[in-house]
């Protein structure tokens, strides 16, 4: 990691911060990089006992359309990624994962953003009990979960009905993890 020589913060919102970072690259060039600083996120591949994958449908304002995606969400300040994965699975799918496994961490847009997506497989899914923390959905989320066979998801990708790249990435990373 090369420390920038100068940072100008241009915008700070609830989801991300935008900065111009004046940096000397390894090749000696000095650039003013436009960088989106993001807290990072978790992506969950919830797999049911019969090997189906649960996707969620929601309205994406940025795209102006509804999408089917793997459940996912942004890390809260200082939150452990594993805790975040369990929380998001509970909030978006309505089920508690008794087993969660990290399968890799990737940058979706390394050209301009430091967001890192941490991918988890969630299995041994069960209904929440009074012993579990209460799951609260974000106010702007109106989410519908549904289990799909992997072959049906592949067909949805082929038809252009799935347009979310992390969903394709998460399914690729967990192709061999059908058995909980």
């Amino acid at each position: 990691m090369i420390e920038p020589r100068r940072i100008r913060k241009l915008f700070e919102g609830p989801s991300f911060t935008l900065q111009i970072e004046s940096t000397t690259l390894p090749n000696g060039r000095v650039i003013d990089a436009e960088v989106v600083r993001h807290p990072g996120s978790v992506v969950i591949v919830p797999i049911t006992p019969n090997g189906e994958v649960i996707l969620v449908r929601q309205y994406r304002h940025t795209l102006g359309r509804y999408t089917w995606e793997l459940p996912a969400g942004t890390l809260k300040p200082a939150e452990d990624v594993r805790d975040a994965a369990v929380r998001e699975c509970h909030e978006e799918v309505g089920l508690v994962a008794d087993h969660i496994e990290h399968v890799g961490s990737f940058f979706p847009a390394p050209g301009y953003s430091d967001e890192q997506m941490h991918f988890f497989v969630a299995t041994r899914l069960r209904a929440p009990t009074s012993a579990d923390p209460v799951a609260e959905r974000d106010e702007d989320e109106d989410i519908e979960p549904r289990p799909f066979k992997r072959a049906d998801i592949a067909a949805m990708v082929g038809r252009g009905d799935i347009v979310d790249l992390k969903t394709l990435g998460g399914l690729t990373l967990t192709q061999t993890k059908n058995v909980p």
């Binding site: 990691m1 090369i2 241009l10 915008f11 919102g13 609830p14 989801s15 991300f16 935008l18 940096t23 690259l25 390894p26 090749n27 060039r29 650039i31 990089a33 436009e34 960088v35 989106v36 996120s41 309205y59 994406r60 304002h61 940025t62 795209l63 102006g64 999408t67 942004t74 399968v103 890799g104 961490s105 990737f106 940058f107 979706p108 847009a109 390394p110 050209g111 301009y112 953003s113 430091d114 967001e115 890192q116 106010e139 702007d140 109106d142 990708v157 082929g158 252009g160 347009v163 979310d164 790249l165 992390k166 394709l168 990435g169 399914l171 690729t172 990373l173 192709q175 061999t176 993890k177």
Partner: protein, 188 residues
């Protein structure tokens, strides 16, 4: 679009993207200020040699704070056709002209806050540039090294964490025949 967009405020206009704060009402009636990165879109190419190997590029990514091995990729220029952009980026970043470019679909890497759409292509029939081809120029801040990898090597790199670019992981599953990249197992 099913939302009503009452107000759009542009808070940043940069070389690559624009940031807007949009006051909107969602289909469920909830009103909020949405911060959105508006991006021109991009292409990512899987350059496949006759021997079935894939060309990747290694470069320093300041935002990610590290060197990365990735598929050649880049933003669309103003008014540029996606196929032309794929041909251009392939030549600029790996120095080869793609005789065939096959679309593999278009996907959004971060639909939560950004409208960037990445168009994926498989490039085959790779050849050295010759007279008559457009001149390819790397961007000034790009210092790019290329490497040739077999599908088996790519799977091992993903499993070891040596490939940290999500687009590369996702596109390889569409472009390569045979079993997809696996993780959580020792590299074979």
């Amino acid at each position: 679009m099913t939302d009503s967009r009452s107000r759009v405020r542009t808070v940043f206009e940069g070389r690559i993207f624009t940031v807007q704060v949009e006051s909107i009402t969602l289909p469920n009636g909830h009103a909020l200020d949405a911060e959105i990165v508006r991006h021109p879109g991009s292409v990512a190419i899987v350059p496949l040699t006759a021997a079935g190997e894939v060309l990747l590029v290694r470069q320093y990514r300041h935002a990610a704070g590290r060197y990365t091995w990735e598929l050649p990729a880049g933003s669309l220029k103003k008014g540029e056709d996606v196929l032309a952009a794929a041909r251009r980026e392939c030549q600029e970043e790996v120095g080869m002209v793609a005789t065939h470019l096959e679309p593999l679909g278009a996907f959004f890497p971060t639909p939560g806050f950004c409208d960037e759409k990445t168009h994926l292509f498989r490039a085959t029939g790779l050849r050295a540039p010759q007279e008559g081809d457009a001149d390819a120029q790397q961007d000034e801040d790009e210092d790019i090294e290329t490497g040739l990898f077999t599908p088996l090597e790519l799977r091992a790199m993903i499993a070891r964490g040596d490939i940290s670019d999500m687009t590369t992981v996702a596109a390889l599953s569409l472009a390569l025949p045979g079993p997809p990249p696996r993780t959580g197992e020792p590299a074979s």
